[in-house]
């Protein structure tokens, strides 16, 4: 049978009109850019009227409103914009400076800290800042359910408020890292914790007050006219959550945003070839990458095997390929600002596959399997895990990759244990050493992710924590470095850094010792 066809040339004018109408409907949305108001122009000004200085920042993840007393990457952009701590380090000298506390005095026995508070500070809701707010913050931070890396560091026995402008802390024993603890503890208004935890309100004393926050979308902030350090030059700050890195890059290129936090290193190197952008590296180098061992699982229970793995990993490849040069190789967790930093010891383990192979053979474990766990969604760690795998396979061990979801990985890390090696990151290598030894779970002497238990290590950690005598500190740091290099339950690989890739229109951007963005003096050209 002959097939019937209806050639397009025979379509009548009426059906053609219908087709055209359909086409017009389909293209109507695309014609919208021709509207008299342009979303592109509005986006470039943060959606505000001309003359209002609006800085737009993009970041990949939503804020963790339950973790305001912890250093938490998604919160880096808002912590110092909304809140202030009692004291704050000068990032160049790492000496504490006054913030909400105007002065402080430690008793001779190093067990009583008296803090004098500023009396001219108002919260964003107009309430006066007093010692009651400090006591509320301390109580909140000490709660079992409050996530904070430094919550147990101060060992506070009592916290008292003799007056509205003074707080007295009594410590169980001297601690070497009290100012790390003070830096971490921001002071929200005492009645606002419930709202803060659900994201309903964030009431601080910082340079910007939160106008609105929509989960998963972002936050709108405006200048705090009564900021105690002086009104910021920027009128508005818009923080947008943009998961896709290529979209954040495009947003910067089109002028729709001015700052992008922690772009992938490859995107950064591409962007800064354009003179309109610069990359601000947060030079605390507070983003270390490590491979650690569950020391209860063979063959990782042998110190020699862990040392061999430390020799087997090509740290230079991690810095050049994973971090695109924005990083430093390291065998120890400390960065330059740490009192425990030792450049020579920090370079103890260099890539030496031959030595690693000899050690594995000598240990009699060649051919045995080791698993490498990592969070699959974190591309950087996945790449590090691949480099670790290549290095280990060259030694004669058989390395198997175990990609995991965050919920499984963190459960294994802190609870039931991970089945071998694990690749992850840690911070605090730039603060007082006790903060890392007591606060970063991979290194915690009492209970850590590696299941590493050692009396000498516990004693050293406690000694470093409780020692406030500068003359004794150096010897303790030498001892802990020697212990970490020898035991290798955590093998540090590289020190990375948080980055803020910014339009050159943004001037005066700074950051705290905890990598929090400071926009007190920032301006938009």
């Amino acid at each position: 049978m002959k097939k019937l066809t209806i050639p397009s040339t025979t379509i009548t004018s009426s059906s053609r009109r219908q087709l055209l109408m359909g086409s017009a409907g389909a293209l109507a949305l695309l014609a919208l850019p021709g509207c008299d108001r342009s979303a592109v122009k509005e986006a470039a000004t943060g959606g505000t009227t001309t003359g209002v200085k609006t800085v737009v920042l993009t970041q990949s993840s939503d804020f963790q409103t339950g973790s305001m007393m912890a250093q938490n990457n998604p919160n880096l952009s808002i912590m110092r914009a909304v809140f202030n701590p009692l004291t704050e380090y000068d990032v160049k000298t790492m000496e504490p400076k006054a913030s909400l506390a105007s002065a402080w005095k430690m008793s001779d026995d190093q067990k009583t800290l008296t803090l004098d508070l500023r009396t001219d500070v108002l919260f964003h809701n107009g309430a006066k800042f007093t010692s009651a707010d400090v006591l509320a913050a301390i109580a909140f931070m000490q709660k079992d359910t409050t996530p904070s890396q430094t919550k147990h560091n101060a060992k506070i026995v009592t916290a008292a408020a003799p007056s509205e402008s003074q707080v007295v802390l009594t410590l169980a024993h001297p601690v070497s890292n009290i100012f790390d603890w003070l830096e971490m503890m921001v002071i929200p208004q005492k009645d606002s914790y419930e709202q803060m935890l659900t994201g309903a309100a964030f009431i601080g004393t910082g340079p910007f007050k939160v106008d609105s926050y929509k989960h998963g979308q972002g936050m709108s902030l405006s200048a705090n006219e009564k900021y105690f350090k002086g009104r910021p030059k920027i009128d508005k700050l818009e923080i947008q959550i943009v998961a896709e890195a290529s979209s954040r890059v495009a947003s910067l290129k089109t002028g729709a945003s001015h700052i992008s936090m922690d772009l992938p290193p490859l995107d950064i190197t591409g962007l800064i070839t354009d003179s309109k952008f610069v990359n601000v590296i947060v030079e605390t180098w507070d983003s270390a990458m490590y491979v650690a061992s569950n020391v209860t699982i063979a063959p990782l229970d042998k110190k020699e095997v862990r040392q061999a793995i430390a020799w087997a990993v090509d740290r230079d490849a991690i810095v050049s390929k994973v971090l695109s040069g924005i990083g430093l190789t390291s065998s120890l967790p400390w960065s330059k600002s740490s009192p425990a930093y030792d450049e020579a010891k920090g370079n103890s383990y260099k890539y030496n596959p031959d030595k690693a192979k000899q050690m594995i053979t000598a240990a009699g474990v060649a051919g045995q399997e080791v698993k490498i766990c990592y969070v699959a969604a974190q591309a950087g760690f996945a790449s590090v895990a691949e480099i670790v795998q290549a290095g280990i396979n060259a030694t004669g061990l058989k390395a198997t990759m175990v990609p995991m979801q965050p919920a499984d990985f963190f459960k294994g890390l802190s609870g039931e244990g991970l089945p071998g090696l694990f690749v992850n990151g840690h911070g605090f290598g730039h603060l007082r050493p006790a903060t890392l030894l007591k606060g970063a779970f991979p290194f915690n002497a009492d209970k850590n992710a590696s299941r590493y238990s050692n009396d000498q290590y516990k004693a050293l950690s406690n000694a470093i924590w409780q020692n406030t005598d500068a003359s004794k500190a150096k010897a303790l740091y030498d001892e802990i470095n020697a212990h970490l290099l020898d035991q290798q339950f955590v093998s540090d690989l590289a020190l990375g850094a948080h980055t803020y890739t910014i339009s050159t229109r943004v001037k005066g951007l700074a950051y705290t010792a905890l990598d929090y963005l400071i926009l007190d003096q920032a301006d938009l050209a």
């Binding site: 009426s14 359909g22 919208l32 850019p33 108001r37 986006a43 993009t58 929509k214 729709a256 919920a407």
Partner: protein
């Protein structure tokens, strides 16, 4: 038709009840711990244990299940286990954004699919091959690729549409539509390609039917024949495909939402799944099941409305 829709309600509720149990148990069986995610990588086991208790994750599973159901029936969805955000606002805002995106994408897909499908059906030779190829490309190119390409062309190169973002449609329609245009187009392209190919095939089959030949013999114009007789008879199977495509668009919105920073339910669900945010995932999946049940019923009703040969119910004896 109304009786048909009403009679589907009990079976729909039964499906929802079974789905709630399956979703609840499967999530618990997948492992992971939302308390560990909430606490962060440096948290001590003591802190995580305290958070587990505070979140009620230490309670027996039946208790957790009935707590969830009670919350659903009383309208108290609770809070995200990981972020602490109220679930009602998280889900409400996300659903609103996703439905706007999916609706706009569906309209675009239907318009583009209809036009392209009809043109393919009536064209011949090289023209048909080119248009067929175009439809194939639309459905073959992943939304991730088409999304990035759209941004490069329309935002970075010509700067006529914003890279990404969202404005509520009722708040500022003119600006909101500009934010919506690119993600909707990106999401619509594969569905339009599928609809076009199905429609073209269906129309060609109808064109071979005797009644079309009779119409031509009676002297009907070819345009009238096409639009009044061929197209209506070719549409019903395409409508069924459209129902499936809308469902797929709801799922595929995850990628598009991530690329265009569209704050829909897709990104909420993806993040919740990675973090094992149990109650958030449970509620979202239950909503998804409900939506699919409704889409299925609506598709059946529409199919019956378009094609009188289709009966929704068996005739009474």
């Amino acid at each position: 038709m109304l009786r048909y829709a009403l009679r589907r309600i009990p079976s729909g509720l039964l499906i929802l009840a079974v789905a709630s149990v399956v979703i609840f148990l499967l999530l618990r069986a997948t492992g992971g711990d939302p308390a560990a995610v909430k606490a962060g990588s440096d948290a001590s086991p003591d802190t995580i244990a305290a958070i587990r208790v505070a979140l009620g994750l230490d309670l027996p599973l039946p208790v957790q299940y009935f707590r969830w159901l009670t919350g659903l029936f009383t309208g108290d969805l609770g809070y995200s286990l990981v972020t602490g955000a109220p679930l009602a606002s998280l889900i409400g805002n996300g659903l609103q954004a996703t439905f706007v995106l999916t609706f706009a994408a569906s309209v675009l897909a239907v318009c583009m699919g209809l036009v392209l499908g009809i043109v393919i059906a009536v064209s011949s030779g090289a023209g048909r091959s080119v248009l067929d190829g175009l439809a194939s490309m639309m459905l073959a190119v992943p939304t991730y690729v088409s999304g990035v390409l759209l941004i490069l062309v329309l935002s970075v190169t010509f700067n006529v549409l914003p890279v990404g973002g969202y404005r509520p449609i009722l708040q500022d329609p003119q600006i909101a539509m500009q934010y919506l245009a690119m993600p909707a187009l990106c999401l619509a392209l594969p569905a339009a390609g599928v609809l076009a190919r199905f429609l073209a095939t269906s129309m060609r089959q109808v064109m071979d039917e005797d009644f079309v030949r009779t119409g031509m013999a009676k002297g009907l114009s070819q345009g009238r024949l096409l639009m009044r007789h061929v197209l209506p008879n070719a549409l019903p199977p395409v409508f069924t495909v459209l129902g499936i495509q809308i469902g797929q668009m709801l799922g595929g919105a995850i990628v598009v939402e991530a690329i265009f920073a569209w704050p829909g339910i897709g990104s909420v669900l993806a993040n919740a799944t990675l973090a094992r945010d149990y109650y958030l995932i449970q509620n979202l999946l239950l909503i998804a099941v409900s939506v699919f049940i409704v889409i299925q019923i609506v598709t059946d009703l529409a199919h019956a409305a378009l094609d009188s040969r289709v009966r929704l119910e068996q005739p009474s004896p």
